[in-house]
Amino acid sequence: MIYSAGLHGRLHRLMVKGRGSPVPVQINGKSYEVDFTAADGSLLSLLVMGRSYEADVVEEADGVLTVWVEGETYRIEYQEEGRRPRRGVGLTGHGAGGRQVITAPMPGKVVAVLVSPAQEVTAGQGVIVIEAMKMENELKASRPGVIKEIKVQEGSAVGGGDVLMVIE
């Protein structure tokens, strides 16, 4: 089986041969022999050339996996070869367009809206304050721009991922 996998804005090509363990795996032409076994739940134990690794895998969405290895987190989008590619595999969050969408990083309450529509903002300027878990968290513009739209107001309850503001 051949997979395309998008990670950190790069595409990788993986080939997994056969069904047992150890199984031969190629990444971008580099070969590994991988001994693997499911330990429990999301946990996989891997032995690669004698090295022992633990990996946890959770499927967030169709073909989109979060993989934890040795305390590090990887979000990977897989595409099985021969199937129609999804839009922008592996490149989410790495575009450099002029539009910024400020989303709520977690559920919470809007404590303060620090800007008004059409206002110019600089990179790093605070635009909105969300309270969650008893701490106030100021969200900042990542690039300079102009406030296009404000979708919430002070006191609004917001869910994680909700769009709060659009900057252009």
Partner: protein, 500 residues
């Protein structure tokens, strides 16, 4: 001794108190808000009662409900933990009026030293040096005026604050209005009291605190110090005891100052005097926390005492179980506070469901946690989900041990600051013991990077095998999604069968 104690708290500290009670043969009564029905403190207590909806002003801060519940359950005493009502003099007073024992100092003592401004005045009177600043609660306008008198930079502080909440450093006058608003708002939410005051900001000093314990018979002891300089946004992140900056002479001077202050107000039960210590080893009283501290386990590990049991015994009228000359510090302890927050996304809180949990084991560790696999970390409360504490014969061993333990600690489902701790523990200043209250912030100002990439190939392989195995196991087309756990388990079982 009490036959039953109500714990007016939640999370790891409620669990901590329940364990102490259980060891003493005392019954435990938990209270919980609607979102905490399946929380660990509810599961572990002997009894549990619902006291209201999730927001703490409607549950964990409801004095009336809590007192009513104690009476209903027949609990003679209440342990307030830390945070919530633990430093609320009115709560302590209401307990006293209702014939319940508040496990902490008297309401009188809380008023006298707990209010930070009052504490500062008293400390001065007791001959303990204090940080320059105001000695009473201020209106917004008075704050502006005070800042002009004291001179920038200053710290705006909640008078009822604690645990690093309700503080803002202000270095320019333009920052002042926002800082005042934010501090008052946090203080209201966390402590039910918006009062604030102003202190001069001393800059790069060490934050070192002294633990005291006092009984109702006039005995007061100090239990060494805790080094709490590693802070982010005035929130302690890693604490250790002893501080390798504190020698025996300084420990005695600070300890004796703390005892003097405690005696001056007739203080009883556990309390902590927080100090700033400058590079010349001058110390300045900051405030007194009239309750158990989050970081009390490191003191327990080096002294061998159980502070919660000591609190309960003292509250029941017993004498302290140790004299000052019997207290010996052994080895070194370090605590990492594990928060549900994303260190690589501006430390945003990360509530959610714990999907997988693997806790470290082995020698020299202590884990104070309220999470379990499958539990919810609610959005409504402090993001502290666990405390990892390591003891070693010396500082080096304690550091090695907590690094090792962090490498075993896996919490999935919510994002935690474990990767951040792993980086801090390798910070050269920290390894060398050369830290102050600005160490973390100035390091963070350079931008925190996740070091990600070292295991990219392994992650890619693991993901591919996941999909590959699931495909085999289910023979359904790829991408049906969401059944990750069962796919592994199924594949694992098939694998097991095939091999036999």
């Amino acid at each position: 001794m009490f036959n039953k104690i109500l714990i007016a708290n939640r999370g790891e500290i409620a669990v901590r108190v329940i364990r102490a009670c259980r060891e003493m043969g005392i019954g435990t009564v938990a209270v919980y808000s609607e979102v905490d029905r399946a929380a660990l403190h509810v599961r572990l207590a002997d009894e549990a009662y619902l006291i209201g909806p999730a927001p703490s002003p409607q549950s964990y801060l409801r004095i009336d409900r809590i007192i009513e519940t104690a009476k209903l359950a027949g609990a003679r005493a209440i342990h307030p933990g830390y945070g919530f009502l633990s430093e609320n003099a009115e709560f302590a007073m209401r307990c006293e009026e209702e014939g319940l024992v508040f496990i902490g100092p008297s309401s009188h003592a809380i008023r006298a030293v707990g209010g930070k401004t009052a504490g500062r005045s008293l400390a001065s009177a007791a001959g303990v040096p204090v940080v320059p600043g105001t000695t009473r609660d201020l209106t917004d306008q008075e704050v502006v005026q005070a800042v002009r008198e004291i001179g920038l930079p200053v710290v705006i502080k909640a008078s009822a604050g604690g645990g690093g909440k309700g503080m803002r450093i202000v270095s320019t006058e333009a920052m002042l209005p926002g800082a005042i608003r934010a501090t008052r708002s946090e203080a209201s939410a966390a402590f039910g009291n918006p009062a604030i005051y102003v202190e001069r900001y001393l800059g790069a000093a060490r934050h070192i605190e002294i633990q005291v314990m006092a009984d109702t018979r006039g005995n007061v002891v100090y239990l060494g110090e805790r080094e709490c300089s590693l802070q982010r946004r005035h929130q302690k992140v890693i604490e250790e005891s002893p501080s390798d900056f504190v020698d025996l002479e300084l420990r005695c001077r600070m300890g004796e100052a703390a005892v003097r202050l405690a005696k001056a107000v007739g203080y009883t039960n556990a309390g902590t005097m927080e100090f700033l210590v400058d590079p010349s080893r001058n110390f300045y009283f900051l405030e007194m926390n009239t309750r158990l501290q989050v970081e009390h386990p490191i003191t327990e590990m080096v002294t061998g005492l159980d502070l919660v049991k000591e609190q309960i015994r003292v509250a029941a009228g017993e004498a302290l179980s140790v004299r000052q000359d019997e207290i010996q510090l052994r080895g070194h302890a370090i605590e990492c506070r594990i928060y549900a927050e994303d260190p690589f996304n501006n430390f945003m809180p990360s509530p959610g469901r714990i999907r997988a949990l693997r806790t470290p084991g082995g020698p020299g560790l202590r884990i104070e946690s309220a999470i379990y696999e499958g539990c919810e970390v609610p959005i409504h409360y402090d993001p502290l989900i666990s405390k990892l504490v390591a003891w070693g014969r010396d500082r080096e061993e304690a550091m090695e041990r907590i690094r090792r333990a962090l490498s075993e600690y896996v919490v999935l489902g919510v994002t935690t600051n474990i990767p951040f701790h792993r980086q801090v523990l390798n910070l050269p200043q920290f390894v060398a013991g050369e830290i102050n209250t600005e160490t973390l912030e100035s390091w963070l100002a350079k931008g925190l990077t996740s070091d990600n990439g070292a295991f990219a190939d392994i992650a890619l392989i693991a993901g591919a095998l996941y999909l590959h195995t699931r495909k085999r196991a289910t023979t359904s087309p790829m991408g049906q999604g969401g059944q990750g756990d069962s796919a592994w388990k199924l594949a694992g079982r098939q694998d097991g069968l095939r091999r036999r």
